[in-house]
C-alpha cells in the first residue's frame, strides 16, 4: 500500500484546470489526486519548486519490431551511453534508441509519465506489448498502422464502407491498439510491388488498386470519427521530407473538412521551394501551415522538431528511409510486413552547418512560435527521428528563452535562417503555463486521456516537481521528485522504487460477422493462422480500456 502524500508550498501549473503558478497544497492517495489526505500523510516541501502533471508524449518510437531492429543495428549507439543498474532498477543502454528499461527510467527522470509508441504493424503488436511490458514507470499505448493495409484497401475499393468500419474496429480491438495510424498512404504497394517507387501526389492511383491517397485518407478520417475514438486518425502525410511538400500537407488537412484529424511531426511536412525552382533546397512554409492549423480547430498537430546531433530515422515510410540513405551513406534497414506495412531505418546526424538540417530546426521552432493554440500544436521531436527525447529540456529552453535561442541561431547555417521566418517570431517566449500545455495537458486532451495531464481531483497521481531555475534546460532535465500513480519513484533525483505503468488501448465495437470477411483473406495471403492473430489479454499486463464516445455514452446512460 502506497502511503498518502501531501505536497506543500509548490507552485502549481495545471492548465487543464486553469491554474497558472498558484502556490497551494496537492494531495495524493490511492494513485489519484484527492482533495484531502489524513493529517499524518507524508509531506513533501516543494518550496521554490514548480509542480506539474507528469509529461505525456503523444508521438515517439520506443517499442516494437522496428525499434528493436534500430537498437540491434547500432551497438555504437549504446556503448558510450550506458545505464547502470541500481539496487532496485534494471540496467540497460542508451543512445538514440535505448533499451526498454532505460527508455522507461529516462522518460521518468525527465518527469514524463506517459508515452505513445506511434507506429506498430498489426503483426508486430504482440512484440510491441512485450517490450512495453518491459518499459518501466511510464504508462503507454501504441498506434497501429492501417493506412497501407491490403484488405482494408480492397473493402474501400469495392465501396464496402460499413465492412471497412467493422474491419478497422476489429483491427484496433484485436491488436490492443490505441489509435489508427496512416503513414504515407498508398506508398507501400508502390515500394514493394513497383520496384521501390513512391507516392508523389494525393491523386495518384495506388498501384493495382482503384484508389488514391486522397480517397484512403478521407475514408479513415470519416470512419475514425464515426467510431468515436478517443484519438482521431494520426496522419503521417505523403511526401514527408520533400521540397514543396507543404501543399500536400495543406491538401491533406483540407480532406478532413471539419472532422477531427491529427497531423504528426508537421515540421517534416512544412517545406516550400524557391520560386520557380523544384527539386532544390527546401524553404520554410511554417507560416502557411501554422495559419491553417490556427484557423481550423478540427486539426491538431505535434511538431516533430529537429534537434542537432545523432538521431535514428525509423519509419513505416520505407521510400523515405531509402532516400535518407543517400545522405547517411551508412547502414540501411528495410523491413516489409505482409499485407500491412513497410519500414525503413537509417542512423542519421543533424548538423547545424548543413542548410537543410538548419532549416528543419528553424521550422520546428517557427511552428511553436507561430502557434496561437498550444492545445493543438503540441510538443514532440518524433523521437528518435528529429532527435532523442533526451533533448526535450533543450527544446523547452529554446522556446522559453529568446536570448538563448538568438545565441543558438547565430551558430547555424545562416542561409537556412534566411529561408525561414524564425527571425520574425524572435520575441515570443513560452511561459511555464504554455510549456505545461504543450508537454502534458495538450497531448493528454488530444489523446482523450481524461485522467492524464492535469491535477484535478480524480486525476492519476502522476506528478513532477522541478527546482525552479533560470536555466530552463537544467530545470527540465532533472526533476527533484517524480510521482507515478501516487508512488514516489524519484526522490532527490534518485530512483527509490521501481514501478510498472499501465497500457492504454481501445476496443471499439464491431459486428463479429466481419471475421467471415477477414478470415478467407488470411487463409490466402497471410502466413499466420487467423485464430493465432488476435492478441490475447495476457499481453497487456496492467491496462485500461479507454472507451469510444458511444461506449462512454452507453456507460453513463444505460
Amino acid at each position: 500500500m502506497i502511503s498518502p502524500l501531501r505536497i506543500v508550498n509548490g507552485r502549481i501549473y495545471d492548465p487543464a484546470n486553469g491554474i497558472d503558478g498558484v502556490v497551494r497544497d496537492l494531495c495524493l492517495q490511492d494513485g489519484k489526486v484527492v482533495d484531502e489526505v489524513p493529517p499524518d500523510a507524508k509531506r513533501i516541501d516543494a518550496r521554490g519548486m514548480v509542480v506539474m502533471p507528469g509529461g505525456v508524449d503523444i508521438h515517439c518510437h520506443i517499442a516494437g519490431p522496428k525499434v528493436n531492429l534500430a537498437r540491434k543495428v547500432q551497438p555504437e549507439d549504446h556503448r558510450q551511453d550506458v545505464h547502470l543498474r541500481t539496487r532496485v532498477t534494471r540496467s540497460g543502454t542508451g543512445g538514440t534508441v535505448p533499451s526498454t528499461f532505460t527508455t522507461g527510467y529516462r522518460y521518468a527522470a525527465l518527469g514524463y509519465t506517459a508515452a505513445m509508441e506511434a507506429a506498430v504493424t498489426p503483426l508486430g503488436a504482440r512484440h510491441t506489448l512485450e517490450e512495453l511490458h518491459d518499459t518501466p514507470v511510464i504508462d503507454k499505448g501504441f498506434f497501429v498502422l492501417v493506412g497501407n493495409n491490403v484488405l482494408l484497401y480492397r473493402l474501400l475499393q469495392e465501396g464496402r464502407r460499413e465492412e471497412f468500419r467493422h474491419a478497422l474496429a476489429w483491427w484496433l480491438s484485436t491488436t490492443k491498439a490505441y489509435a489508427p495510424k496512416l503513414v504515407n498512404p498508398g506508398a507501400d504497394e508502390l515500394w514493394k510491388g513497383e520496384r521501390n517507387a513512391n507516392i508523389t501526389s494525393l491523386d495518384q492511383k495506388i498501384g493495382p488498386f482503384d484508389l488514391t491517397p486522397r480517397g484512403v485518407i478521407a475514408a479513415f478520417i470519416e470512419t475514425a470519427n464515426e467510431l468515436g475514438l478517443p484519438h482521431p486518425v494520426h496522419i503521417h502525410c505523403n511526401n514527408l521530407g520533400h521540397t514543396g511538400n507543404y501543399e500536400t500537407t495543406l491538401e491533406t488537412m483540407r480532406i478532413a473538412e471539419g472532422q477531427r484529424a491529427h497531423i504528426t511531426h508537421i515540421q517534416f511536412h512544412s517545406y516550400g521551394s524557391v520560386a520557380g525552382k523544384s527539386g532544390d533546397n527546401p524553404t520554410s512554409q511554417a507560416r502557411v501551415i501554422g495559419d491553417f492549423v490556427n484557423s481550423h480547430p478540427n486539426i491538431s498537430a505535434d511538431v516533430g522538431a529537429v534537434m542537432f546531433g545523432r538521431s535514428t530515422s525509423m519509419t513505416a515510410d520505407a521510400p523515405l528511409a531509402y532516400m535518407l540513405r543517400r545522405f547517411g551513406g551508412g547502414k540501411w534497414i528495410n523491413a516489409d510486413t505482409e499485407n500491412e506495412s513497410g519500414c525503413g531505418i537509417v542512423p542519421f546526424t543533424y548538423q547545424d552547418r548543413v542548410y537543410t538540417n538548419a532549416l528543419q530546426w528553424a521550422i520546428g521552432l517557427e511552428l511553436f512560435l507561430l502557434s496561437e493554440d498550444p492545445w493543438r500544436m503540441v510538443f514532440s521531436t518524433d523521437h528518435p527521428n528529429g532527435g532523442s527525447f533526451m533533448s526535450y529540456p533543450r527544446l523547452i529552453r529554446l522556446l522559453m528563452d529568446a536570448e538563448y535561442r538568438k545565441a543558438e541561431m547565430a551558430k547555424v547555417n545562416q542561409q537556412a535562417l534566411e529561408h525561414s521566418g524564425l527571425r520574425d517570431c524572435q520575441s515570443r517566449e513560452y511561459s511555464l503555463y504554455e510549456i505545461a500545455i504543450i508537454t502534458r495537458a495538450g497531448p493528454a486532451r488530444l489523446l482523450g486521456l481524461t485522467q492524464k495531464g492535469h491535477l484535478g481531483a480524480g486525476a492519476d497521481a502522476d506528478v513532477t516537481i522541478y527546482d525552479e531555475d533560470p536555466d530552463k534546460e537544467k530545470m527540465f532535465s532533472t526533476p527533484r521528485y517524480v510521482i507515478k500513480d501516487g508512488e514516489l519513484v524519484i526522490e532527490d533525483h534518485e530512483f527509490r522504487a521501481d514501478h510498472s505503468g499501465r497500457l492504454f488501448h481501445v476496443a471499439p465495437d464491431y459486428d463479429s460477422g466481419i471475421e467471415k470477411v477477414i478470415q478467407p483473406f488470411f487463409e490466402d495471403y497471410y502466413t499466420i493462422e487467423f485464430r493465432n492473430y488476435p492478441v490475447a489479454d495476457r499481453y497487456l499486463h496492467a491496462h485500461q480500456t479507454i472507451p469510444t464516445a458511444p461506449q462512454a455514452a452507453a456507460a453513463t446512460h444505460p
Binding site: P65, V67, N68, R71, K72, V73, Q74, P75, H78, R79, V82, H83, L84, R85, T86, R87, V88, R90, S91, G92, T93, G95, V97, P98, S99, T100, L123, G124, R126, H127, E130, E131, D134, V150, W191, K192, G193, R195, N196, Y322, G330, K331, W332, I333, N334, A335, D336, T337, E338, N339, E494, R496, Y525, Y526, T527, I528, E529, R531, N532, A536
Partner: protein, 449 residues
C-alpha cells in the same frame, strides 16, 4: 476419437525457425502424448512424437533426486555466490522465460549469451555493419518471383520453408506458385534441396565470399575477370545471367543458411550477401533473410536486444550491458576458464562445444533446465526437469522473420516451465543479495534502496 483424446488446432511447432502455426494435433490425454500431428513436416512429426511425458525426477542435485524447492535453493546459492556466472542457451524456450533469464543475469552481474553465438551470430554481426533489407515470410510468399537459397538445405533442415513460405505456395502476385518464381540454389554440393531449383550454382568450398563479391561488382556494372571461374567454380557467364535475372525480377529474396555463416569468412560472407541485397534495391525490390535454426532463437535475439541493446554475447559485470562477441560469447568465456558457475537453459553445450569449453564446464557448478537428460545435465550440479515449450507450456515464440506467435500447448505436464523455475530462482537470488548486485566502486547514491 476416444474419450481420452482431444484435438488442438492451430497449434505451433517449435522445432525449427519456421515456427509453423497450422498444426492439428491429436492428443492422447491418458498417456500424455501426441499421436498425430497433421500438417507437420517430417521433423515436426518427430518433434511431437518424441515429446511425451517421461518419468524423470523433478530435479537432481549432484545426481541425487531432489524436490524443485531444494534445487531452486541450491541454484540460487550457486548464482549468488559466483563471481562470474554465465547464463547460456535460451533458443528453445519461450520469450517469457528468456526475459526472466536476462533479469537474473542483470541482477547477479553475470554473462548472458544464446545459441545465436554458435549459429547465425556472424549474421548478427554483419547486420550491425551493413543493415538489412528484409521482409516477413508472407511478403515472400505473396510477391517473390525470384528466390535464391544460399548455403542451406531447407529440404532437410526447414522443409516447410519450401512448401509453406517461399517456393510452392500461391501468393497474391504469384498466383501459380512455383511456376511464377525463379528458384536458385547456391551450395557447395548437391543435396535433397537441389531438385527444387531452376538454377543450381555449385561453388567451390570456401569461396562464397568471392562469388558474392563478383555478383556485387556485376550489379554495379563493374568488370569481372573470367578467371573468377578458376577460383570459385562458377563461370562469368553464369554470374552475368544471375545478375540479369536479379535486376529484372519484381521482388527478389535471398535466404541464407549456416553454410555461409559457419564457413571461412563468417560475418564477411553474411555481410557480402546483405550488401548484395541492398545494392540490388537500386534496380528492383530485394530482401534477404538468415534462415534460423532453433524454434525460438529469433525470440532470444529480440528479448536480449530490447533488454540490453545487444543481441547476444552480453556481460553485466560492470553494472551495465557490454557486448563483445569473441569475449563474452560462451565458447570463449569457457575456453578461457573465466566462468565460475553456469546456468544452462534449454541447450546442450556439452554435446557440441569445443573440448576446452566442455572441460571447463566440468570444473564449475552447472545448473540445467531441460525436458530431457542431456550431456550437460549429466555433468550438472543441479538439473531441473522442465516441461516442453509448445507442447506443455504456453508462451510466445518468434518466427525467423521476427513474427511473434502464441503457443497452444497440447497437454499439461507435471513438470514446471522454464519460466516458473527461473522466476523462483530470481526471487531467491534477490533475497540472498538484497536486490540487484552492484559492482565494486558504484557511487554511494546508487546503492540506496
Amino acid at each position: 476419437m476416444g474419450e481420452n483424446t482431444k484435438i488442438v488446432a492451430d497449434a505451433t511447432c517449435t522445432f525449427c525457425g519456421c515456427v509453423c502455426d497450422d498444426m492439428v494435433l491429436t492428443v492422447d490425454l491418458e498417456h500424455h502424448r501426441i499421436i498425430k500431428s497433421e500438417n507437420a513436416c517430417v521433423l515436426g512429426k518427430a518433434w511431437f512424437k518424441e515429446h511425451g511425458i517421461e518419468e524423470r525426477p523433478y530435479a537432481l542435485i549432484d545426481g541425487r533426486e531432489a524436490t524443485t524447492e531444494e534445487a531452486v535453493e541450491e541454484a540460487a546459492q550457486i548464482l549468488a555466490e559466483a563471481r562470474f556466472p554465465i547464463i547460456y542457451g535460451l533458443s528453445d524456450t519461450t520469450c517469457e522465460a528468456q526475459r526472466v533469464a536476462v533479469a537474473i543475469a542483470d541482477m547477479v552481474g553475470g554473462n548472458l549469451d544464446t545459441t545465436t553465438s554458435v549459429c547465425h551470430g556472424p549474421s548478427g554481426i554483419a547486420f550491425q555493419g551493413v543493415g538489412e533489407s528484409t521482409a516477413s515470410l508472407g511478403e515472400i510468399k505473396n510477391r517473390a518471383d525470384m528466390v535464391v537459397f544460399w548455403g542451406g538445405n531447407p529440404a532437410e533442415a526447414h522443409p516447410r520453408l519450401f512448401t509453406r513460405y517461399a517456393v510452392t505456395p500461391k501468393g497474391m502476385y504469384v498466383p501459380n506458385g512455383k511456376k511464377d518464381r525463379t528458384i536458385v540454389l547456391v551450395d557447395v554440393r548437391r543435396t535433397l534441396s537441389t531438385p527444387v531449383a531452376d538454377i543450381f550454382v555449385q561453388v567451390k568450398p570456401r569461396s562464397d565470399f568471392e562469388v558474392l563479391w563478383a555478383l556485387r561488382a556485376l550489379v554495379k556494372g563493374r568488370k569481372v575477370d573470367p578467371s573468377v571461374e578458376e577460383r570459385t567454380g562458377v563461370s562469368l557467364a553464369v554470374l552475368e545471367d544471375l545478375v540479369t535475372r536479379m535486376k529484372s525480377c519484381n521482388f527478389g529474396a535471398l535466404l541464407f543458411g549456416m553454410g555461409l555463416t559457419m564457413n571461412r569468412g563468417r560475418h564477411f560472407n553474411s555481410g557480402a550477401l546483405l550488401a548484395l541485397a541492398t545494392d540490388l534495391n537500386e534496380f528492383t525490390h530485394w530482401v534477404a533473410k538468415p534462415v534460423r535454426g532453433h524454434g525460438n532463437v529469433t525470440g532470444a535475439d529480440n528479448v536480449v536486444s530490447w533488454q540490453t541493446g545487444f543481441p547476444f554475447g552480453v556481460n553485466f559485470a560492470r553494472g551495465y550491458p557490454r557486448f563483445n562477441p569473441g569475449e563474452f560469447t560462451t565458447v570463449d568465456v569457457l575456453a578461457r576458464g573465466d566462468a565460475d558457475a553456469a546456468l544452462i537453459i534449454a541447450s546442450d553445450p556439452a554435446s557440441n562445444f569445443p573440448k576446452a569449453a566442455i572441460e571447463h564446464l566440468k570444473r564449475i557448478p552447472v545448473i540445467t533446465l531441460d525436458p530431457k537428460a542431456t550431456h550437460t545435465s549429466q555433468l550438472a550440479r543441479v538439473a531441473f526437469t522442465t516441461a516442453t515449450y509448445g507442447i506443455s507450456v504456453a508462451g510466445t515464440v518468434y518466427r525467423m522473420d521476427d513474427v511473434p506467435i502464441t503457443l497452444r500447448p497440447a497437454f499439461e505436464s507435471p513438470y514446471p516451465s522454464d519460466e516458473q523455475i527461473l522466476t523462483a530462482i530470481r526471487e531467491r537470488v534477490r533475497d540472498l543479495l538484497g536486490g540487484n548486485r552492484l559492482p565494486a566502486g558504484t557511487p554511494l547514491a546508487a546503492t540506496v534502496s
